[in-house]
């Protein structure tokens, strides 16, 4: 389990990606980035990731949500943990900042608001990966 975790960021703002990537790389994650939904989806299909960081507002609207929905329908990718990163405050309104919000597009997901504090980002990423692994282990156990 000590192998480097492989993460994918899908976000159409390269500057934002740089800001978030440097934090993750410093914390010893391997990070790929895709700058549009199409490339992002292709990357997901071609490579195995431990977690996806997904921007909501891309292109002509909430295209990130479309990816999240598509993931939910995919038998393999459904179990990939997703951290949805949104700049839409309204979705977070009236919730305590820092508290987990589960959009439930896939088995394990959570929502955070841009910009993300480094500590919170790393906490969420680690927790989501751990949760997803625990669930997968549980499933494998049940199948035996």
């Amino acid at each position: 389990m000590s192998a480097q975790k492989q993460l994918l960021i899908i976000d159409d703002d390269p500057d934002f990606v740089d800001g978030i990537k440097s934090i993750l790389v410093k914390a010893n994650y391997k990070v790929d980035a895709a700058y549009n939904p199409k490339d992002g989806w292709a990357a997901l299909e071609n490579k195995k990731y431990d977690l996806l960081l997904l921007d909501v507002m891309m292109g002509r609207g909430a295209e990130g949500i479309m990816i999240a929905r598509k993931l939910g329908k995919d038998a393999r990718l459904r179990n990939l943990p997703v951290l949805i990163i949104t700049s839409i405050r309204e979705q977070m309104a009236f919730l305590f900042p820092g508290e987990a919000v589960h959009p439930h597009f896939v088995t394990v997901d959570e929502l955070v608001e841009k910009p993300v504090e480094p500590k919170m980002l790393l906490d969420k990423v680690a927790t989501l990966i751990k949760t997803a692994e625990a669930k997968a282990g549980h499933l494998a156990e049940a199948k035996k």
Binding site: D13, D15, F16, D18, G19, I20, K21, S22, I23, K26, M57, S87, I88, R89, E90, A93, F94, L95, F96, K114, P115, V116, E117, P118
Partner: protein, 363 residues
């Protein structure tokens, strides 16, 4: 241009005919009905620009027609046709939503004139509807547009400052780190300002009522104080809190209430001199929880007191240059009122101010 549709409802053939003779050549598309029920059906089908309706008809009366019309589409313009003997009932009809009345017998000119006026009224109503819809759209979309267009670049900036801080942790000196922190602070203020504006323009404060829950006031106070602590520390202000338990819970939205107290405390800090005191007390009164925040700051001039809770009010002469959008107390008032409570201020220039928030206790 679309043709103008006029519907005439009257059981008297002669009235229908004379209307046709006068209005037909003027280029209007006329449709007639001989009773109210048929008339209502045609309203639905044709969406006329103007309706003439006789008050006295067999079947449903003109009054009933007006009532049903209003229930169906309150934006329809109807003019009642009535005999001289029933002018009183014409007035009654106008109370029921008719735009005007036309007494029988009428001259062609009278009919033309009232038609023109009725159509003008219809046009204005339609324009008002379009404007209202546009305003709604703008209001609804404003949040999304502003969020994305303004926040995206700021978020990217902030995220990179976060990233750089982590990357350069062991390379930067204390002074440089402090500067990075200040940059982050300024950006954070700007992002918060955008949030505030978004709330004002796009969030209907009354919507928070839908998720009211029992809230412990003490925890609201604790959170609000936590939020303001960095500022009190910076100005070396002593903030004391005296929560006189037991306090009854209030029905409300905790986050919004934290925002209210946060705004009041922030203002208290903003308009206080360094090394002074701010006292917060919370106590139960009959059927209510009363929270007061008292500062020894610069106070508010008497003539300004009525405007403090209005939009865009900003206090004058803060001890240091202070930022703010002048919306904090206005939003706070709206939130407190949505809770069925009240917010008040007393102040003496040079001595300080006291804000009092009164929230009804949960029954």
């Amino acid at each position: 241009m679309q043709e103008t549709r006029i519907l005439i409802i009257d059981d008297e053939e002669v009235v229908l005919d004379s209307c046709k003779m006068v209005l037909g050549p003027a280029g209007y598309k006329l449709t007639t009905a001989s009773n109210g029920t048929a008339g209502l059906g045609l309203v639905r089908e044709l969406q006329p620009d103007l309706i003439f309706v006789d008050l006295k008809m067999p079947g449903i009366s003109g009054f009933e027609f007006l009532e049903r019309l209003r229930a169906m589409d309150p934006n329809q313009v109807a003019i009642v046709i009535t005999g001289y003997a029933t002018v009183n009932s014409a007035v009654e009809a106008m109370k029921k939503g008719a735009y005007d009345f036309l007494p029988k017998p009428f001259t062609p000119d009278e009919l033309r004139l009232i038609t023109k006026r009725g159509l003008e009224k219809h046009r204005l109503l339609q324009e008002a509807i379009v404007l209202r819809r546009e305003k709604e759209m703008l209001r609804e979309n404003f949040a999304a547009i502003v969020s994305h267009e303004l926040k995206s670049p700021l978020s990217a900036l902030q995220q990179n400052l976060f990233g750089l801080t982590a990357e350069l942790e062991d390379k930067l000196g204390d002074e440089q780190k402090a500067r990075l922190e200040r940059m982050k602070g300024r950006l954070d203020d700007l992002l918060k300002l955008i949030h505030t504006w978004l709330r004002v323009f796009s969030v209907d404060v009354n919507k928070i009522k839908e998720q009211f829950q029992p809230v412990a006031v003490a925890s609201v106070i604790t959170r609000a104080i936590e939020n303001v602590l960095p500022h009190t520390t910076r100005k070396n202000i002593e903030l004391t809190s005296d929560v006189r338990e037991p306090l009854p819970p209030v029905m409300g939205d905790a986050v919004s209430l934290i925002e209210v107290l946060g705004n009041i405390l922030n203002n208290a800090v903003k308009y206080s001199h360094p090394q002074t005191k701010i006292q917060l007390t919370a106590a139960a009164e009959v059927g209510a929880v009363v929270i007061t925040v008292r500062d020894n700051g610069i106070g508010i001039a008497k003539e300004d007191l009525p405007r403090v809770f209005g939009d865009f009010y900003r206090g004058k002469g803060a001890p240091q240059m202070e930022s703010g959008c002048g919306m904090g107390l206005a939003i706070s008032r709206r939130i407190v009122e949505a809770h069925g409570g009240s917010i008040a201020v007393e102040s003496e220039p040079g001595k300080g101010s006291q804000f009092t928030v009164r929230l009804p206790a949960k029954t």
